[in-house]
C-alpha cells in the first residue's frame, strides 16, 4: 500500500442527535482504499458499516451527521462539501449499490430512461449516444437481449436482473470507487454468487475500487483484498483477507470465524459468541467487546484499545497485543 490511497477515511465519527442524548453510530473509524482495491467491511447489524458507507457517499439520513474526522477522495476532502458539489461527485466518482434491488429502481420509469438520465447528468453527450452507452452497459452486466430489455420497466425484471441493472447504473459514469451496501443480501443464494462474480469482474476490468459492506464472511473471503471487521461503531480488526480469515487476532473476529460452517470440518456444533452486540445507548466503558470477550482482563474494562499492528498491514484493537506480540 505504498501508492497514494484513493479513499482515505480518517477518524470518522457519525452521530445521531436524539431526544435522549446523542448516539454515536460510527466512532473513530479510519481506513484507506487503494485504487482498484476491494475492501470488505463486515459486522453485525448496527455495527456502523452501512452508516460508514452512507457517510462516504454523503447521504446520511438526517438527523445523522458527520461529527468528526475526514473523508478524502484522491487527496481532496469530500466530507464537508456543499450539497451541490457532493452531488457532482456522487455517481461520477463514487457509485453506490444498495441492498434491495427491488426497491432501488424507480418503478415508473424504464430502465433505459434511468440509465440515460444518469449518463447525461454526468457527461455532456447526446441522448442518442447515452442510449448506446446504456445498451452497452446492459450487455456488459449480462442482461440478455438489451435492445428489447432497455425499454422495459423494473417490475419486468427478476431480482437478480434488477441488481444487474443497479450495477450498470452504478458503473454508468465509470466511477473510481463503488460503495456496495449488502449488494447480495436480498437475493436468492444461487443468484448471489453470480452477482458477486459480476461485480468482481467488472471492477477488475474498469479498475474500480470497491467498499463492500456485508455481514456475509463468505462473500468477503471470495471477493475482498482486505477486510475491516466492525463492532459497535468501531473497527475491531483490519488486514489482508487471507490473514484475517486464517489467523484472526481480535477475539471478536475469532468468534466470528468460529461461527462459520466450513466444508470438510465435521464440527458437532458451531461456536457462538455469547451475548449480543450492545445497543448504541449502552456501549460499555473500555473495550466495547469486553462483556462478551473470553480473554477479558482488567484493562479492557476501563481503557479503550486503539488499533495496534499485529502483523504486516494487519491491525487489531485489542489489549492482548499491547506489548507488540500476542500472548494468546
Amino acid at each position: 500500500m505504498q501508492n497514494e490511497p484513493l479513499l482515505r477515511v480518517d477518524g470518522l465519527r457519525v452521530e445521531f442527535p436524539g431526544r435522549r442524548g446523542t448516539l454515536v453510530a460510527v466512532d473513530d473509524v479510519s481506513f484507506d482504499i487503494a485504487p482498484g482495491e476491494v475492501l470488505g467491511v463486515v459486522g453485525e447489524s448496527g455495527a456502523g458499516k452501512s452508516m460508514t458507507g452512507s457517510a462516504i457517499i454523503g447521504l446520511l439520513e438526517p438527523p445523522g451527521r458527520i461529527a468528526g474526522g475526514s473523508i478524502s477522495l484522491d487527496g481532496r476532502r469530500i466530507d464537508n462539501l456543499p450539497y451541490e458539489e457532493m452531488r457532482r461527485i456522487r455517481g461520477k466518482h463514487i457509485g453506490a449499490i444498495f441492498q434491495d434491488p427491488l426497491t432501488s429502481l424507480n418503478p415508473l420509469y424504464s430502465v433505459g430512461r434511468q440509465l440515460v438520465e444518469t449518463i447525461t447528468t454526468h457527461s455532456d453527450i447526446s441522448e442518442k449516444a447515452a442510449r448506446d452507452r446504456a445498451l452497452a452497459l446492459l450487455q456488459e452486466v449480462g442482461i440478455p437481449a438489451p435492445e428489447r430489455r432497455i425499454d422495459q420497466y423494473p417490475h419486468q425484471f427478476s431480482g437478480g436482473m434488477r441488481q444487474r441493472v443497479v450495477i450498470a447504473l452504478a458503473l454508468c459514469a465509470n466511477p473510481r470507487l463503488i460503495v456496495a451496501d449488502e449488494p447480495t443480501t436480498a437475493l436468492d443464494v444461487s443468484i448471489q454468487a453470480q452477482i458477486i462474480a459480476l461485480l468482481k469482474r467488472l471492477c477488475r476490468e474498469h479498475g474500480t475500487a470497491v467498499m463492500l459492506v456485508t455481514h456475509d464472511m463468505g462473500v468477503i473471503a471470495e471477493t475482498a483484498d482486505r477486510v475491516a471487521v466492525m463492532y459497535a461503531g468501531r473497527i475491531a480488526e483490519i488486514g489482508p483477507v487471507r490473514d484475517v480469515i486464517k489467523n484472526p487476532r481480535h477475539p471478536y473476529t475469532v468468534g466470528l470465524m468460529g461461527s462459520i460452517p466450513r466444508m470438510g470440518h465435521d464440527a458437532e456444533r458451531l461456536t457462538q459468541i455469547d451475548g449480543s452486540m450492545p445497543r448504541l445507548t449502552e456501549i460499555p466503558a473500555g473495550c466495547a467487546f469486553n462483556p462478551r470477550c473470553p480473554y477479558v482482563f482488567d484493562r479492557c474494562r476501563v481503557e479503550r484499545p486503539d488499533r495496534m499492528a499485529v502483523a504486516p498491514f494487519h491491525e487489531a484493537a485489542c489489549w492482548k497485543y499491547a506489548d507488540g506480540v500476542g500472548h494468546a
Binding site: I57, L59, Y83, R87, R88, I89, R90, G91, K92, G95, A96, F98, D100, L102, T103, S104, L105, N106, P107, L108, Y109, S110, E117, T118, T121, H122, Q152, Y153, P154, H155, Q156, F157, S158, G159, M161, V166, L169, A170, C172, A173
Partner: protein, 329 residues
Amino acid sequence: MIAFVIRRLLQSLIVMLTVGFVAFSMFNFLGDPINNMVGQDATEAEREHLRHVLGLDQPFYIQFLVYLGNALQGQFGMSYRLGMPVVRALAERLPATLELVFCAAGLALLVGVPLGVYTGLHRDRWLSKVFLTLSLIGISLPTFLIGILLILVFAVYLGWLPSFGRGDVVDLGWWTTGFLTVSGIKALILPAITLALFQLTLVMRLVRAEMMEVLRTDYIKFARARGLTNRAVHFGHALRNTLVPVITITGLQIGSLIAFAIVTETVFQWPGMGLLFLQAVQFVDVPVMSSYLVLIAFFFVAINLVVDLLYYFVDPRLRADRAVASGHG
C-alpha cells in the same frame, strides 16, 4: 387493457342501473304522483283513467323498463314547478355549474400541488409552517362562511367583485359561457375560490404527505446516489410517484364538487344545478330531483372511469399485460 376497459364499463353500467332504480323509486315513495297532477276534486274514475293512461297500473318492473327506455332517449319528464322538460332545465343550468367546478378544481390543483411539493420538501422552513397553519383553516372553515367572508371583503368593503350571479354570459347555442365577458369572469372569481379552498388544502396536504413518504424510499436515495440533480430527483422521480393517489382523490373530489356545489351556489346565487336542485327540494319537484341524482351519478361514474384510465398512463406496472417478473404493486 381492452379487457380492463370493458370490465370497467360493465361495472359502470351496473352502477347506473342501480342509481336509475333508486331515482325511479323516488316517484313512488314521495307521494302518489297522480295526486300531484290532478286537482283535489277529481273523481276516482278520472284518477283510474289517468293512472291507466300513464301506465302506472302496470307492475313496477314494466314501469321501470319504460322509465329506462325514456331515460335512454333523454326523457326525464316534466318539472312540476317550471313546467318544462327536466332535461332542458338541467341543460340550462349545467354550464354554470361545470364552469364553476372546473375553475375550482383547476385552482385547487394549480395551487395545491406546488404548495404540497414545497411543504413536503422543506418541512422545517417557516413558510411551510405558515402554509400548513393556513391549510388547517381552509379545511376547518365551512364553505358558506368562507363565501360570506369573501363577499364581505371583496364585494362589500372593497367593491371589486360582484357578490352574486354569473355576470353577462355568451350563448353559444348549446352552452352558455361566462368566460368571454369581463363581468362573467369577475363574477366567477369569488365562487371559484370559495369552492376551491377546501379542495386546495386537501390536495396540498395529500401531496405533502405523499412526497414525504416517497422521499424516504430506496429509489429516491439511489437516485441521489447516482448524482442526479435535486430538480430531477424531486420533480422527475418523487412527484411522479405521488401522482396516483393525487389523481384518485382529485377525481373523487371533482365529483363531489359537482354534487355539492349547492352551498356555494346558494351563497353566491349562482344559477347552476345546485340552486335548481335546492328549489326542486323545496317544491317536492320529484322529476328534477331524480334526474339530478342520475346526472350526478353519471358524472361520478365517468370521472372514475377517466381516473382508472389515467392510472394506466402514470403507472407502468398496471400497463403490463405480460409481466415477466412479479412486481410488488
